[in-house]
């Protein structure tokens, strides 16, 4: 069953189109006058509908790669192609528009606006997309319902648990119906149960056809994906399809059973 899922993913990857592509992307910057090569000529294709994990120890360049393909930062050399369009020469404002339409972000530290309600946070990308007031509200509600927070619309970030805040962030990433959702250590600041919940939501969304890229240092998290790209010292050293992919629902059941046994 797991085997066949992995095989299917490979077939899908071959058949489906490429949503996002990094071509010979390098990133250098100076830190205390020492030149650091965060990325060295990285090539990566993300296929539509795929759940991909980028894995590596800290300093391996995985976060930098996510910033490049998320258009949050510019490569020193090389190109990033989103939906077949090379964005390397776009102005900051054009990049903002592409991020707004095509890319959703989930960060380790959630990055929600403080003292702002869950619904207002989710509406944020829609405001900049020019969606009208009423439509915005209903889209934000629908998105929050999708992550199971339909009853927390008016709550501020400070009134939500870490797991709930991360789900608000996921709802915000989803609300513009992007081509791809990029998640940088999405479970890094969460306890194990909330982490499993978040992974479960991400897997669920992926099953609904949303392309997801997760950046993580945690092998356990990476094994939730269909494909894992291993990075070291700014290079991709290994690219594999996951066998025996972890399903968050199973882990949740295990956790429930463990807790019951402990009691």
């Amino acid at each position: 069953m797991e085997e066949s899922a992995a095989t299917q993913a490979r077939v899908e990857c071959v058949e489906s189109r490429v949503v996002l592509e990094a071509r010979q992307v390098s990133k250098c910057y100076e830190l205390d006058e020492i030149e650091v090569h965060a990325l060295r000529e990285v090539d990566l294709e993300v296929c539509e509908g795929q759940m991909l994990a980028v894995m590596g120890p800290s300093g391996s360049g995985k976060s930098t790669l996510m910033h490049m393909i998320g258009l949050l930062d510019r490569p020193t050399t090389g190109n990033v192609v989103v939906e077949g369009v090379d964005v390397s020469r776009m102005s900051p404002n054009e990049l903002a528009a592409v991020r707004n339409k095509r890319i959703g972000f989930v960060f380790q530290s959630f990055n929600l606006l403080p003292r702002t309600s869950a619904q207002a946070n989710v509406e944020l990308p829609l405001i900049y997309a020019g969606v009208s007031l009423l439509k915005r509200a209903s889209m934000a509600r629908a998105s929050l319902e999708r992550v199971g927070l339909g009853d927390r619309l008016g709550h501020y970030s400070s009134q939500l648990s870490g797991g709930q805040q991360q789900r608000v962030a996921i709802a915000r990433a989803l609300v513009t119906a992007p081509s791809i959702v990029l998640a940088d250590e999405p479970t890094g600041n969460l306890d194990s149960r909330s982490g499993i919940e978040v992974m479960s939501i991400l897997q669920d969304l992926n099953r609904q056809g949303i392309t997801i890229v997760i950046v993580t240092h945690d092998d356990g998290v990476a094994r939730h994906a269909e494909r894992v790209v291993h990075m070291l010292d700014g290079r991709i050293v290994h690219d594999e399809l996951v066998e025996n992919r972890t399903l968050a629902e199973d882990r949740m059941r295990e956790l429930d059973a463990e807790e019951e046994a402990a009691q």
């Binding site: 903002a96 339409k101 972000f105 606006l113 003292r115 405001i127 997309a129």
Partner: protein, 394 residues
Amino acid sequence: MKFFESFRIALRALNANKVRSALTMLGVIIGVSAVILLVAIGTGVQHEVTGSIEGLGSNLIFAFPGNVEEGGGGSFSVTRQFSLDDAALLERRLGSKDLVVPIIQSPATLKVGNRELRTTIAAANENGDEVFTADYLGGRGYRRSDVSASARVVVLGSTVRDDLFPYVDPVGKSIDINGQQFTVIGHLAAQGGSLTGDQDNQVYMPVTTAQRLLGTRDIGAIVVKADDPADVNLLQRRIKQILRPKFGNEFSVFTQEETLGILTQLLGTLTVMLAGIAGISLLVGGIGIMNIMLVSVSERTREIGIRKAVGAKTYDIMSQFVIEAVVLSVLGGGVGIGLGWSGAAALTRWVPTEVTWWAVALAFFFSAAVGIFFGVYPAYRASRLDPIEALRYE
């Protein structure tokens, strides 16, 4: 994105950060109200004092105890006060056409029923009307007999009358001055115009009555009214000759012109001082605004990073921050103007104040400029960062 949306975003952000918004506004409010208030006091005092002198007429000569010139124009050294005897001496020795008027001016508290008013007593002899303006609206002035009897009679200036007897004829009514009962015998028409404005806020009584009320045998000054304005300088020399044997150099005689000159000099110093204090308040307010804006930069930079990550363009960020800063500055400035203005109005009970437009405008625009600059400049810098730089900002 439309302007309306930017406005909504800015208001929502202000609302989400109420403490920061309030503190920023506080800086503007303090700056604006302090400047308005202090300049109002300076201007008010200056106008009241110069107005009271100018209102007296051009053919007047003033004799004061103490040597003003030796004191360097600033401090008086009074060793010996004038008394009514000195006024009588001048009256005997000067021509009968020139009027000699002993003067006492002193602050006093008036009470009628539960109404209380702080004002100034202006006391003189029966020729007081020649020195102080006297346009009677009702009743009469005090006479020679009132002066010799130290009668407890009083004439009200128009402001005093309007404050204490708003709807009734005050003549014959009783009034409490510094705890003693007086009878109102007359009241004056408003003098009108800023120069004599203060004379409306005085009460007039015989000099002898004032001496008894204040418990003194001294008088404040002696005013001589020249029959012919051309004689003023001659008269000034004669007064000096008459007073020198008794007072030596310890007295001063000025024409009205000279008096004004000295006062303007003194009051100019006061105004400069107040303007200095106002400037400091403005600076402190400005620094307050700057601090709160700079302190919130790291939080705001992250906010800008978040907004950019989800698709905000530079224009969206800038318009939000400009609108935020303008709204805070204008609200704070408006509150500051209201506070400064009503503060100035409230203070007139104790100090004359006059709100000046240039002070209002200067304070408002300076505070607004500081608020907008420190609200927008850090945001401008942050809006030019790559989103990831802004998100990482500590």
